[in-house]
């Protein structure tokens, strides 16, 4: 049913002007391709020729020392920064070809929790969901926040939440259904306690089992179920 229309033999034929595959994107299965990505910051080359293909149901874990360019690679994957060379493809098409459609398939959670101090947890969550094209009902959001361990704190302003709780507010979006197929998470385990780490692992596992793709950076090995495939990319 999910026909992959793009052959993988593209690496040998690079070219910036890639014609978009003439197919409805929905019919192509979730699949993220990094093709010869290079990134230069100032005069320093952070990474070059990063090639990787992540299929539906796979976890891609980036590892590397501080400053190796993990965040830069994640931002490049999302289209926040343009690669120096190379291309990122989603469902066989360059991500720049139809940004809005790609953004509908994507959840990116960066270093900062992206919360407004003056808004409550649930207001923050609603704003983030609407931006991402998710339209949860208030009750769905309440239960998502409860699952994320913020029961009774839904209406507290984000200013009064701890670092870990702020992180949980932005992670709560991941629980909502239907979930976008591609998650890009920058150090998602930071500031989380043991219980929350286990919870996040189970959320990631569920996403992978549902045929989603998760890309994350983490300094610890991610202990997901051995039956799920995990790709590690070292920068």
């Amino acid at each position: 049913m999910n026909a992959i229309l793009h052959p993988l033999a593209l690496k040998s034929a690079p070219g910036p002007a890639v014609a978009p595959t003439p197919s409805a994107p929905e019919s192509v299965s979730a699949r993220l391709e990094l093709i010869g990505l290079s990134c230069v910051r100032g005069t320093r080359r952070l990474f070059s020729n990063v090639d990787s293909v992540v299929q539906a149901g796979q976890l891609l874990r980036l590892q590397g020392a501080n400053g190796a360019g993990k965040t830069s690679l994640l931002r490049t994957m999302c289209g926040l920064s343009a690669p120096d060379r190379g291309e990122v493809r989603w469902r066989g098409r360059s991500i720049g070809a139809d940004r809005d459609a790609f953004h509908r398939d994507l959840i990116y959670l960066g270093h900062a929790a992206a919360l407004k101090d003056d808004l409550s947890a649930i207001e923050n969550m609603q704003a983030a969901c609407m931006l991402g094209g998710q339209r949860p009902s208030p009750s769905q959001m309440m239960s998502a926040l409860a699952v994320a361990g913020l029961r009774q704190r839904e209406h507290l302003s984000a200013r009064s939440l701890s670092q870990g709780q702020r992180r949980r507010v932005s992670l709560a979006r991941l629980v909502l259904k239907p979930s976008p197929p591609l998650w890009v998470l920058d150090e998602p385990f930071n500031a989380l306690d043991v219980a929350a780490t286990d919870w996040l692992l189970s959320v990631v596992t569920a996403q992978l089992r549902a045929g989603g793709i998760v890309v994350l950076t983490s300094h610890q090995p991610v202990a997901i179920d051995a039956s799920l495939s995990q790709v590690t990319l070292t920068l």
């Binding site: 929905e26 990116y108 407004k116 003056d118 983030a128």
Partner: protein
């Protein structure tokens, strides 16, 4: 899987989720402004105080005050709207929300337009509503006060739109406030000339239609072009 609405080949439609995203940004900014009323109030007080210093400084000569009133009110409005412009995108940049705005399902220029509209409601519109009170201080006739309000209604959205480009260009720059004023104030000169000019024309008994038309034309042009310019600037700023 959501049946995501995809535009047909070559045809760009804005799906309803994009409009929802735009509306939620607009409402979120208004809500933030409500929670931080002090900021809005500070800009208004600044406007009132700057405009009130002039009569105190130049003396209570009614004819002189009436002559300089349009310019003084307009310059004060221009300066007051600069105060809140600096935070249009920099707050979002600091807390990471700006990345989410760039990755939203809505085209970035529309998101930027929503933010500019919210900024105008909290700054430009508020200034316009206070302006008649200031005009009374300068002993402007009722007719001229009406023209002043209309010219501000046409001109203050322009300040938010042009200022938005400057705010986007200076995102993440150290000392952005001063740089922003240096960038934006010269660009606002035409707005100032035609805005204050409209009131001057009424005082001289001339028709004001031409001034309104020019302000309106600039507004339409800026409504179209400024969101694209600001969106491009934001993308560069976040690279």
């Amino acid at each position: 899987m959501t049946p995501a609405p995809t535009p047909a080949n070559g045809q760009h439609t804005v799906p309803s989720s994009a409009l929802d995203a735009m509306r939620s940004v607009f409402l979120r900014d208004l809500r933030l402004a409500m929670r931080r009323r002090a900021d809005t109030a500070a800009a208004l007080f600044f406007f009132v105080i700057v405009a009130s210093l002039f009569p105190l400084g130049v003396g209570p000569e009614p004819k002189l005050l009436r002559t300089m009133a349009p310019g003084v009110v307009w310059v004060a409005a221009l300066l007051a709207s600069m105060l809140s412009l600096g935070r249009l995108f920099s707050d979002d940049h600091q807390d990471g929300t700006l990345e989410q705005l760039l990755l939203s399902v809505c085209p970035l220029p529309l998101i930027v337009l929503a933010k500019m509209a919210a900024h105008w409601l909290c700054s430009g519109l508020a200034l316009t509503l206070v302006a008649p009170v200031l005009a009374l201080q300068f002993d402007l006739p009722a007719e001229a006060i009406g023209v002043l309000v209309v010219s501000l209604l046409l001109g203050t959205p322009l300040l938010s739109l042009i200022g938005g480009i400057g705010a986007a260009l200076t995102v993440g720059v150290r000392g952005a406030g001063v740089l922003l004023s240096l960038l934006v104030l010269p660009l606002c000169v035409p707005v100032l000339i035609f805005g204050a000019g409209a009131v001057d024309a009424t005082l001289a008994g001339l028709p004001v239609g031409a001034h309104y038309s020019l302000l309106g034309a600039m507004l339409v042009l800026a409504l179209f072009a400024a969101p694209f310019a600001a969106a491009a600037a934001l993308r560069i700023a976040l690279e």
